[in-house]
Symmetry: C2
Subunit: 302 residues, 2 copies
């Protein structure tokens, strides 16, 4: 009897990562550019066909997708990307497309809920519940595991847009947020493009490692982390994404997190051991696709 395999898809706005594997790990994977829905999904399905010929059949598919997405199984739009500003990708019925083509169960969630699940099962959040996974990159987003599974509600967490006090530029002038929806939200200040604009560079990654941008980014990020801690009371917050790979961002975030809380939450994990409260991903950039594989396993009844 051959080993059971699942297919995992991390559907991102710039690339898709598709993999064959299971809870033990990833057997094979591929990165596919996100172009039009038709072309992108064809490429993903072609790769899955070829990979399953090579490695064996998969019994379910899991998809962690950029959003917003429809997670309500009672909705006619369940399994679709909904109101994304990304041209052509509105109302793409991901679950239906893959279910019809492969005839297997399809699990579905947001990319960040999938990443949170991946970290919860295999990474820096093993056995930790509630758990938050926040990513700070081209955008800012967060996923939540509570009572063993991803948090769904009216929609799904959208923590990138938490309203926070604007960083000050001078005694009287606040920083200008870059979010087209909200003048003073987390993503509008600390997503990569916002940092680049604020500091006058083409890409945030062009900033030198000793730029004051990183300390300030950590301080602003800390406001979001405080609000998350006060609302969900997670036992750990994992922070991933390109921006926090810059030197000093996470250290600054931890320091300002404690400073902003100012002793209000008297919990040793926060007051004495914040390095184990706000942590880097254990799976690096693989959290999303490992989580997608776990969504597949759940869809298969595993």
């Amino acid at each position: 009897m051959s080993e059971l395999l699942q297919a995992g898809i991390e559907a991102g706005g710039t690339k898709f990562v598709v993999a064959l594997g299971n809870a033990e790990g990833i057997r094979d994977w591929e990165k596919i550019d996100t172009t039009t829905p038709g072309e992108t999904l064809d490429n993903v399905m072609d790769w899955l066909d070829a990979a399953s010929q090579e490695h064996g059949r998969f019994d379910a598919i899991g998809i962690g997708s950029f959003g917003p997405v429809e997670l309500d199984e009672n909705s006619a739009r369940y399994g679709s990307i909904t109101t994304t500003p990304k041209p052509g990708w509105q109302n793409v019925p991901l679950v239906r497309v893959f279910a019809e083509r492969f005839g297997v169960p399809v699990g579905f969630d947001t990319d960040v809920n999938a990443a949170a699940l991946g970290e919860h099962l295999h990474g820096a959040g093993r056995g930790i519940d509630p758990l938050v996974y926040l990513t700070v990159g081209t955008g800012v987003g967060g996923g939540v595991i509570v009572n063993g599974g991803p948090l769904h509600g009216l929609l799904h967490p959208e923590m990138g847009h938490l309203l926070i006090p604007a960083p000050r530029r001078s005694a009287a002038v606040d920083a200008e947020g870059q979010c087209p929806f909200h003048p003073s939200c987390l993503e509008g200040f600390i997503c990569g493009p916002a940092i680049a604009k604020r500091w006058g560079v083409a890409k945030a990654a062009d900033l030198p490692s000793d730029s004051p941008a990183w300390e300030e980014t950590g301080e602003t990020l800390a406001h979001g982390l405080v609000n998350i801690a006060l609302t969900l009371s997670p036992r750990r917050i994992i922070v991933g994404g390109g921006v926090v790979k810059a030197p000093g961002v996470l250290a600054s975030a931890r320091r300002h997190f404690q400073k902003l809380l100012n002793g209000y939450l008297q919990v040793p994990r926060i007051t004495q051991d914040v390095e184990n409260y706000i942590v880097e991903p254990g799976l690096g950039d693989w959290a999303g696709v490992r989580g997608a594989l776990a969504l597949a396993e759940r869809a298969a009844g595993g």
Copy 2:
């Protein structure tokens, strides 16, 4: 066979409400001033003795308490009030005191988690999950029901202290927050004492119903509601407490909630039906003690 009864205690910083009843309703109740722990708890226990002689025995006790409290059953301090600034009430072991005196199971949670549970079972949150109960009064606090039960984590939700942009007093001057811990948090702007100070009256309730205070309070409250919606994705937010009884506060909060989100969450419940998303309690001021009775029923294995 007589009907099963439980005891419910809403332990507040200014008063305790103690009741005998069950899921059907409250059989008898009393309000007891919060003075010293010894005196207050003696009065509560004396009332319970007398009431159970009149109405019948109770098989469990539920306590919803002001906090912060220790909810970790593995902690030696489980069931205690912990670091409250209230003189004399630090480290009062509520659960142990009642368990030893009455020899019955004791359920325990925060006052606001209890209120959320009460509303979830019997009030404006029936069958709605995730559900948030926010109270705005002398302080600001929030409870959460998710997957059928109160949310616990590293601690418990402390949403009163969400960091938000300060309301503006002029083009360059922000309002001054009144929280001793945080210069720009929800409670620091909209708890009753903060409103009174900002508008120069002894008590917020002294302000006339046409005061601009109420519109502004609703706008500031809306920042907290947005952050809660973005983090927990609740299917409904119940807002209780003395401050939101003032005319126009909740209407202002709903209007500004939509305005602040600015179309980012494209969900009809928010964009078209916000009156059914942000709602008043269904149980009025009884949510806490009904929730405490439900905690008792759960502790009894009900």
